[in-house]
Amino acid sequence: MTAADPDRPFRSLAGPTPPVAPDPAFAAALRDRLRRELLLQQRPPVPAEPRRTPMPAISPYLVVRDARGAIAWYAEAFGARTVDGPYPDGDRVGHAELEIAGATLYLADPYPEYGLEAPGTAKPPVSLHLAVPDVDAVMGRAERAGATIERPATDEPYGRGGRLVDPYGHRWIVQSAPAAAEQAPEPGDAVYLTLNVPDGRRALDFYGAVLGWTAVPGRVPDGWQVEGRTPMVGIGGGATELGMVPMYAVADIEAAVAAVRAAGGEAGDVERQSYGLSASCRDDQGLPFWLGQLS
């Protein structure tokens, strides 16, 4: 019989417990304490990557629908690095800091409750001016990634530039400095250094930390155009042969290729590049270099 079951009488003790609202003063005090604790816990945040530039006096703070998507998009199109955050806030991103070409960009998801809305269908009244060495590469990349080209790149007295609207409704003016008319390289000058490494992103991080280099994405996957260096520097990821390959300026590349071969070196085919003509060579001891006839 059930009398032998010692648990039996106690079974009636089980049952759901009704929720009870505590004293409102206690509830408010505890809520306040939790808010402070949460703030304490979030500081210091570990930056995703070290910040390379001090905080500028003015930084654009974008409201974007789908901030996570936008962070990925700006990385793909403009080579943006996430230097802080993103800080999740439920389903939204409450704050994130990107570095694009050495400049700082903040962004967050819309917060309609604070009056912070993403761009609508109207034309954005503020444009973001992005200075890059290679306007065509950046605009091409942005267009492939879904940007709307408002004005294709053209050469102007102040440099080559174009306009685009990104998928989040923000307009960018992509601009390069005027072609370096100051001093054209002399034939024989080293004009360009290419760092061939297995991981271009990693090399950029290393030289960014050591030398302060910043870069924008190049034309090839994991290729990076280092900004503002003399001679110009590029980083090529995915290389199996480690090394730095210089490009030497020549006045006549066909003649120079012939001279390489005559001197016992090797020269590949002359290739057309956006900056002129190039040929991949090795000297007679096997050391690689490029020849460049700059236009």
Binding site: P9, F10, L30, R31, E37, L38, A108, Y111, Y114
Partner: protein, 175 residues
């Protein structure tokens, strides 16, 4: 206060836990109050439970749920009973080490049962509450109390005996 999008330096506080707070607070507080029967203790343990959630989230744990909070509150309650037991141990001898149980098949009155539970020694109250009010299997009770299953079963025998003795000595008497 800072609001998202208007502040350039620190991040906005993650309102994940705070948005859960309004819904979870009565659940956690209600759970604790029904078992410890003291507003002050329930408030203390509620605070400890939510602060544990902050630390767990900061440590990269899974997002907090009401179920997680109740589970944590249960641990806090056990800790509370354990403290109470230590305090009372010096004052009082635990009676009845006999582990032989007479058959008992009473129909318990809820209100009277609660009063009896409140008056039991913390160890007995903890064991009976976890086993019967929370309806946890003995191995779970053992884990929460930090005892072996065998020791927990023995504790439950003593607790039921103590409960029965107290119950029958109050109110309407033995059936």
């Amino acid at each position: 206060m800072s609001s998202p999008g208007t502040r350039a330096v620190g991040p906005p506080p993650d309102p994940g836990l705070l948005s859960l707070y309004d819904r979870a607070l009565p659940e956690v507080y209600g759970y604790l109050l029904a078992r410890c029967r003291s507003r002050a203790v329930a408030e203390d343990l509620t605070g400890e439970t939510f602060l544990a959630a902050v630390r767990a989230e900061a440590a990269g744990g899974a997002p907090t749920t009401v179920a997680w909070l109740i589970g944590t509150a249960r641990h806090k309650l056990v800790d509370h009973w354990r403290r109470l037991e230590r305090e009372e141990r010096g004052l009082r001898l635990l009676h009845g080490t006999d582990e032989v149980e007479d058959p008992w098949d009473a129909e318990l009155d809820a209100l009277r049962s609660q009063q009896v539970l409140d008056a039991l020694a913390p160890q007995h109250r903890a064991a009976l509450t976890l086993r019967y009010v929370d309806d946890l299997p003995v191995p779970r009770v053992a884990a929460l109390l930090g005892r072996t299953v065998h020791a927990t079963e023995a504790l439950l025998v003593r607790a039921r005996t103590a409960f029965r003795r107290a119950y029958e000595s109050t109110g309407g008497g033995a059936p």
